[in-house]
């Protein structure tokens, strides 16, 4: 019960009676309603956890797609090492937990009236709303890169048709072709993702098209697991994978889709296959709900994930600003559980315990070469901050058996998390 609901209940009954016997008042009221928007790792985890924590809650998950296509491991699909079907998960198991599925997309949120309007015309009332909408690509963020351009220069940063398009382009490329990728400035979904992708495409080229080359143009000089990636590249893909950082002129300022060309301040790079990972922002519904700030992302309280811009609305996963915590599936899953606990506590009018959140990201540099980074985070000064000394990265000097073991752990992690969230 929120204090607001308790207030409504108390005005409906006699005020004195509600104060003397709040349990009677709450037992008579309808179940509290929580709407979760977005059926990815964050939203699906949150919806199911809410029902597990409080089976009396009415929980509706809003998701337009019939199936979820997971981004983790989709770089393996691009490199021809994995089938896209292994990335697809349905929502049929949600009913088992008593989560109602609304197969539509949210088109409007009224924070004051506490309603969400769906594309199919339905209006859902909520006591608390959880937005887990993921990202939108900024179509105004890189001159020349439009939705049409993405058919020639795929982003493949939302798994599905784009993933397969990039794979087909690589398969169709002649041996000797140059693959050019571009990575954006921070923040963006999956910080190690561009480097894992470059690695696995390099693996594909090395094994299938050895005369080819990959150039990764980067708007940054530093990136996640950089030393591990760079030492692996030097060992596995010398002369095949070239990373060009910001200070070496790697920032792409525009693209020319007609000629598959990337333009920087200092050079033009013509590609045989072009992969543009464009700048990103929280998905549009976050902006419509008034929870996104000028950066395009959503600031939240680090203990409850409640928006700092709109009360009663929580934001989790890639759409939110989480301080030091990266935008990853593991992080989204961890935030979703802590958020569910906070929502249940708030509805009961209770305080929220300060959470500790864990993230782990595995990256494959080759099918049998895995590296990882782990971090533990706690709310500090309104942000999630890294707890120094907790977590860490794979050792720089590990042997091949260690890397192979980590690649297995990565597979195990994916099976575990998808079984937990969608199984």
């Amino acid at each position: 019960m929120t204090s607001r609901r308790r207030f409504l209940a108390s005005t409906a009954a006699a005020a004195a009676a509600a104060v003397l016997a709040p349990h009677v008042a709450s037992a008579q009221a309808a179940a509290a309603r929580v709407v979760v928007v977005g059926g990815g790792f964050a939203g699906t985890t949150c919806a199911r956890t809410l029902r597990k924590l409080d089976p009396a809650l009415s929980v509706t998950l809003v998701e337009a797609n019939a199936d979820f296509v997971a981004c983790p491991f989709s770089n393996e699909v691009i490199a021809g090492l994995r089938d896209l079907k292994q990335q697809q998960f349905g929502y049929t198991t949600l009913a088992r937990d008593g989560v109602t599925l609304a197969h539509s997309s949210a088109t409007a949120v009224d924070p004051g009236g506490r309603t969400v309007t769906l594309e199919n015309g339905t209006r859902l009332s909520f006591d608390r709303l959880v937005l887990a909408p993921g990202i939108d690509l900024r179509w105004d963020g890189l001159p020349g890169y439009t939705q049409d351009a993405a058919e020639r220069m795929p982003h493949a940063w939302k798994a599905g048709a784009q993933t397969l398009l990039l794979r087909r382009q690589l398969e169709a490329m002649d041996d000797g072709g140059v693959v050019v990728m571009s990575a954006p400035a921070n923040p963006f979904r999956c910080p190690p993702g561009p480097y894992e992708r470059a690695s696995l495409i390099a693996y594909y080229l090395k094994t299938k098209k050895p005369k080819s080359k990959l150039i990764l143009l980067d708007a940054k000089d530093a990136f996640s697991k950089q030393r591990l990636f760079q030492s692996a590249w030097a060992a596995l893909y010398p002369g095949l994978l070239e990373w060009v950082g910001l200070s070496a002129g790697g920032k792409v300022t525009s693209v020319e889709p007609s000629s598959l060309t990337f333009i920087t301040d200092f050079a033009r790079h013509k590609a045989a296959v072009a992969n543009v990972i464009p700048p990103q922002k929280a998905a549009r519904i976050a902006e419509l709900a008034g929870v996104a700030d000028r950066t395009g992302w959503c600031p939240v309280d680090p203990s409850t994930f409640e928006s700092t811009l709109q009360s009663g609305i929580h934001v989790i996963g890639d759409a939110a600003i989480m301080g030091a915590m990266p935008k990853s599936a593991f992080a989204a899953n961890a935030q979703a559980k802590a958020c569910a606990a906070a929502v249940v506590a708030r509805l009961a009018g209770q305080g929220v315990a300060e959470p500790r959140l864990i993230n782990t990201c595995y990256s494959l540099v080759a099918p049998d070469y895995g590296i990882s980074v782990a971090g533990v985070y706690r709310p500090t000064n309104g942000q999630l901050a890294d707890i120094a000394g907790a977590g860490g990265v794979s050792p720089l000097d590990a042997d091949a058996a260690f890397r192979a073991q980590e690649a297995l752990y990565a597979q195990g992690w994916f099976k575990t998390i998808t079984a937990e969230v969608f199984g």
Binding site: D221, L246, S247, A248, G249, D265, F266
Partner: protein, 107 residues
């Protein structure tokens, strides 16, 4: 040290504005930070950037400790005759780097 990239058009029209872009790899140490042993880390920045054309200075910048590492500099100029453009960076600890580019002026 000092690894500079420049972008200067090889051919320009007489009297028409064109852009010059320059990016140099260089650390940025303000001189205000203490190291782990408690002593100040010496300042290490680029102090001055100049652009001369046929020996005449056409543009210069004086940089301070708030400048970014790897500063990116872009500006416009016009040329009335063909010649040699010289970009020069100088900084702390005797740092110096130079890049040159010929420009042909057409009418």
């Amino acid at each position: 040290m000092g690894n500079a990239l420049i972008n200067v058009p090889g051919t320009v029209k007489r009297g028409e504005a064109f852009e010059i872009k320059a990016l140099i790899s260089h650390p940025m140490e303000t001189g205000f930070r203490a190291g782990t042993n408690g002593t100040l880390i010496p300042r290490n920045i680029i102090q001055r950037f100049t652009c001369t054309y046929n020996g005449v200075e056409v543009f210069n910048l004086v940089l301070s400790p708030a400048i970014a590492a790897n500063p990116f500099i872009a500006f416009f100029t016009v040329a009335t005759e063909s010649g040699k453009l010289v970009l020069r960076w100088t900084g702390d600890d005797g740092f110096s780097a130079e890049e040159t580019a010929p420009i042909t002026v057409t009418s």
